[in-house]
């Protein structure tokens, strides 16, 4: 055993989330055993009782930070990992649970639980990158599992990962979808949303709902204007930008502007 070369050690950590992004690893049915042979899965509680201490070569971090406990824990995770990759909308933008960040105090008081002293939670749900330096953010609600393989492979090879950064529109064109917004007047977040899903929703006849979050050069205010021309009311536009990546700044900003305009 001692003559075996040391395999890179990978750990998977979970914060506030649905488990779906880490499940993507187990959903790599064809490659799972090969991956498990190429790397050492040192910490992945959802899959194994064997939990090895750090340091790790790669920490995959799912979920957002919503408690004091987790705010402390993410610091320890960062110290234990050479490369930290946040995976999914919760980890990269705060997730759907970041909708709480917009609620005013009056709304909060009404939400207080019968025995509030039993529960400890922060007012905000925040992405991993607001707490520690993150080496790569993999978008999506959920992430695309092939992106995860590419990202792990690229990280271990020391090269730049080939993850798309264009908009969903580009994927729609490649898929030869008819543009829903042009042809049917259906509001669609495709023009401002980062590619990665393969233009799934337009292929199923519905507007993109932005689960991969804003693309880097998103012009969200212009799209909001377009939605208005299509007849959408401000609350509808606000809801459109406030879903799984509501706290990503481009979406947050435009949703706040729509509300006050």
């Amino acid at each position: 055993m001692s003559s075996e070369p040391t395999r890179p050690r990978i750990a998977v950590f979970k914060f506030a989330s649905c488990d779906g992004c880490q499940l993507s690893l187990l959903d790599l049915e064809d490659d799972l055993l090969a991956i498990a042979g190429a790397v050492e899965i040192a910490y992945f509680p959802e899959a194994s009782r064997r939990m090895l201490k750090g340091p790790y070569d790669i920490a995959l971090v799912e979920g957002s930070i919503t408690t004091h406990h987790d705010a402390n824990l993410i610091q320890k995770v960062r110290r234990s990992a050479r490369t930290l990759i946040s995976i999914g909308a919760c980890a990269t933008s705060g997730g759907i649970q970041a909708l709480r960040n917009f609620a005013d105090s009056g709304e909060y008081v009404r939400m207080v639980y019968a025995k509030p002293d039993f529960i400890s939670t922060l007012r905000m749900s925040t992405p991993i990158g607001e707490h520690v330096p993150v080496d790569f953010e993999l978008r999506g609600c959920p992430i695309q599992k092939n992106h995860l393989v590419e990202l792990i492979t690229a990280t271990l090879a020391g090269r730049k990962p080939a993850i798309p950064t264009s908009s969903v529109c580009l994927e729609c064109k490649r898929r030869s979808n008819v543009c829903l917004m042009v042809a049917a007047g259906t509001p669609c977040l495709g023009p401002v949303t980062q590619a990665g899903c393969g233009a799934l929703c337009p292929a199923y006849g519905r507007g993109c709902y932005g689960c991969f979050g804003p693309m880097e050069s998103a012009n969200a205010p212009s799209l909001a204007e377009r939605f208005t021309i299509l007849g959408a009311q401000p609350p509808e536009i606000e809801r459109a930008f406030r879903t799984y990546n509501a706290w990503a700044w481009q979406f947050r900003k435009v949703s706040e502007e729509v509300r006050t305009s």
Binding site: L99, I119, T121, G205
Partner: protein, 439 residues
Amino acid sequence: MIPTDTAVAKAGVNTIEVPVLARVEGEGALFIKTKGGKLLDLKLKIPEPPRLFEGFLTGRHFMEAPDITARICGICPIAYQMSAVHAMERALGVEIHPQVRALRRLFYCGEWIESHALHVYMLHAPDFLGCQDAIELAGTHKDIVLQALRLKKLGNEIVRVLGGREIHPVSACVGGFYKTPRPEDLAPLAEELKWALDASLATVRLVATFPFPDFEADYEFVSLSHPDEYPLCEGRVVSNRGLDIDPAEFEEHSIEQHVRHSNALHSVLKARGSYHVGPLARFNLNFNKLPEIARQAALEAGLELPVRNPFKSIVVRAVELVFACHEALRVIGEYEPPPKPRVPCEPRASTGMAATEAPRGLLYHRYSIDEGGLITSARIVPPTAQNMKRIEEDLCAYVPDLVDLPNEEIAWKAEQAVRNYDPCISCATHFLKLSIDRG
């Protein structure tokens, strides 16, 4: 997880702590205290942070509910989508096309196959075979793990064909689907399902040979029950102790208790206390609705009704794999595309409740919406919250038989008893309301 041994010598108190429960979905922890061979205290702690879905569903449009609630659980998003669409359709008085109904059963079968294959082989079987995980299992039983992965992949493929992707698929909507498949899209699934049916039968035979602890409990089993079919999306909520209600009456009978050590609520039946949902409950209450091939497999595996040994849930899950493959084949064989993928749904001020059978058991949703179609209140009761009290009671009954074992073994066996329920802790905590810590 290796338990931390903190035996306090002078008091003679032995504390076993499993700070991170493995091979469950979400964050759980186990604390056991024994003294002089007796169980002093036991808690299944749920530190998983609450995500407050009930709060932010308020004010959202009714058509958004299936997509938003799917995000409660990445393992069973279809269960959330199905409970949400049925609750909304009941609120709006919408009737769906029979072929849409059949497609939803197929969609759900895909999730059952994926989820059950994951749990049976990758989360639960390693306990019986003395392994830490499926990867280690692959070292000694590679063909079994490959079979598991192929089954799991097929379940995911059914979901992907109908919904676009495995996790948080995009096609299900109130009134039907955004897009329905062509028969030729489903044909390749049928080929693989024929293999999967055989593989599921082999799974039943395999897991029936596992060594089961001699443990039984006197459960109240609760599940849906439908006059003609093994329950997925519709039926009355029934139990072996006389419960027989429409899902709309669910909240009159099941209430939730808030306990300090858990961020998941504990459900109880008002009249009688804890109850048990999931494969065991479905199987015991609906055995005669299973197809012949599944009933036969169950009997050959030595299952006797009612199954009260929770460790045998792994066999029952395997029997449900047989059912799901058989049912998926039936739906595909009889499929004709509906005239329209969905019926239009006009909002009106109303309330609707529905329950469907998630892989882990009964999943209840209630929504009230206003005349503009915005949600004014929402309530979600996931299966794991309903099982939570029952899991603790199982542990309290089971652990006293183990106290003479080394701590590591007690911990492992107790963990296994928790995994009998395939608990989804992510689900169970996500409907809690919020308290603010402004520190």
